[in-house]
Subunit: 386 residues, 2 copies
Amino acid sequence: MVRIGLIGFGQQGKLYSAILTGTPLPGMPPIPKPEECVLTAISARNEICKGQIEAMGVRYFQNWQELVASDVCDAVVITVPHFAHHEIAITALNAGKHVLCEKPMTVRASDAQAILDAQQTNPGTKLAMMLNQRANSLLQKIKTIIDSGELGAIRSSYYISNHWWRPDSYYATNPWRGTWSGEGGGILVNQACHPLDLWIWLCGMPQAVYARCLEGAHRNIAVENDVTVLARYPDGGQGVFITCSHDLLGTDRLEINFAKGKILLEENRKATVLRYTQPEGSFGDSYDFRTFYGILMQNPQEIYTREELSAETAFCGDYVQMFRNFAGYILRDENPIAPAQAGMHQVQLANAIQLSGWTGQEVTLPCCCDDYDNWLARKIQEETAQ
Amino acid sequence: MVRIGLIGFGQQGKLYSAILTGTPLPGMPPIPKPEECVLTAISARNEICKGQIEAMGVRYFQNWQELVASDVCDAVVITVPHFAHHEIAITALNAGKHVLCEKPMTVRASDAQAILDAQQTNPGTKLAMMLNQRANSLLQKIKTIIDSGELGAIRSSYYISNHWWRPDSYYATNPWRGTWSGEGGGILVNQACHPLDLWIWLCGMPQAVYARCLEGAHRNIAVENDVTVLARYPDGGQGVFITCSHDLLGTDRLEINFAKGKILLEENRKATVLRYTQPEGSFGDSYDFRTFYGILMQNPQEIYTREELSAETAFCGDYVQMFRNFAGYILRDENPIAPAQAGMHQVQLANAIQLSGWTGQEVTLPCCCDDYDNWLARKIQEETAQ
């Protein structure tokens, strides 16, 4: 059994406390309590939460430092604002606690590296990321298909991840939202962590990116909320990643092209897997090009097969799976679904995209941390000087 | 009645001669002969075609110069290889003939400008482009919706135009295919003229482009056949254009996002038009962001309406429409469906994309003709030196 201390009791923290204690949410289906996890402590700065927390039979701390220093938990789950992640994670690891960190690991890759270093100097600790979309059963099936190699090498991926509609009234709910000083960025730091992670997980890490990042596009905010990325990969493959917060009926579509097939993923709920009966390049040996199109119309099964996949979704099932996996990682060294390196890669990619947007130049990955940190410092300074 | 001389009797020339004479194609539905057009002459370098042409009751010329100089036609239709377009078009215009030019107008924008100049110095002549996809009834409906302004300003367009699968055996059918000296480029000069034109027609001309152009991607050719473009527009909008010749089951998908709606066009055959009940930005005034998503699930008609449109297609109907329109343009000064300027813009955009790919820099439109021409000359020189 892993004794878990939750740091932060905002929207996400409250959800995790319900999941970890098996408390049903009003009007929602029951959530199976993750095995091998027990919630023993919560830290929340606002003392008004104390009663609610203690009513769950959970120890309350006002300061996360006291929770980390205490002996009531083996692991902490960090669900506080991004800029506070690295200090808490490092302190917890140095105190011998395992860490499950909410996305993004950090704003800056330099801070993420400090967390990874702290884990290395405390080899008894485990560090993993709450990148829960990796636990989606459909995405796991796709990952298995890609890794099996049956579709061959990836040639291109085109990801439109615009399903992050946020109106001005959303950004106005908290003064830190949509600011450089409060969040360290916009959609790249907040909403798009998930698709950036999935893109890396499924298609690999780009070698270089060129990006356009529009700041305050159709919104009264300082940070980027409309991003278009052109990526290239070490093996010569191409990628495009698009994300914005002003697409009302936001498109969520990932297309991956392989030497021997194609995968189309829509809204993380439905996938179409097309498998070619030969490698793409060799169809031209069998048919001339017009004959090929005739067969494609009249006898497509000579060319390809089609499989439709869908997600088996249970309410909060991905979170439950992530907690189970975190416990298994700690107790039996099971493979983490989202290892620390995944958090690092996602931050490195987000940083490189920002840096390319700011400089107007293609940026090679991993980008220079000093360059990114200096640019971000300047953005924060300009904002707070206003 | 417009008397038409056809210059070139290759694949496209043969098709146009059948259309203009109302000759049924074997195994295909009948094609309605375009009114006000009569095919009076064809030039074809290969004298073996003479009998076939004269059997249609059409005058045969071996040299296009003789056809242009003759008095048997009022207009010429140019369907010869790209590099020959400008010399023929300029000669024909200077001889007082109207010109309908196959796409692309030219390889180089500098040559296209010379054609436009020749038309200007011969004000009695009419010059138009055979960009037949503009005659597609579905695309015309979409164009009308966009131009009406009901959906507001365009914010972004994402075009995946990968339905140009061509195997190595296709490129091997003619020695000029897939070469700089023979075609002046690859997919940007040949196959993707249509989607580039449609993109400009529907979404406007970009202000600047950044592009990656892979030459010989998965094919044994010298020219570009895998292109990814990031475009920006004068009003701050964003665009992405993707095209390649190695996607076996090629995606053809154009998404356009507006302030008040969204259009999704698939394979030029099916379109979905989503109209928001308010401008996108103002939904946040009416609903908080979580309430919005609840309504979107349960009562979507409060948020938007959906209209599905499809194309009314007749075999070769778009070509027939283009010929009719060309005659109307000549005889009654009707608006041309694809005016000369459309041909010019398409070439300017293709040139700018190539130049960005070659230089690795963003290129402002229209790009410097000398820069493009020098780069192309170097590509041709390198190729022929091998």
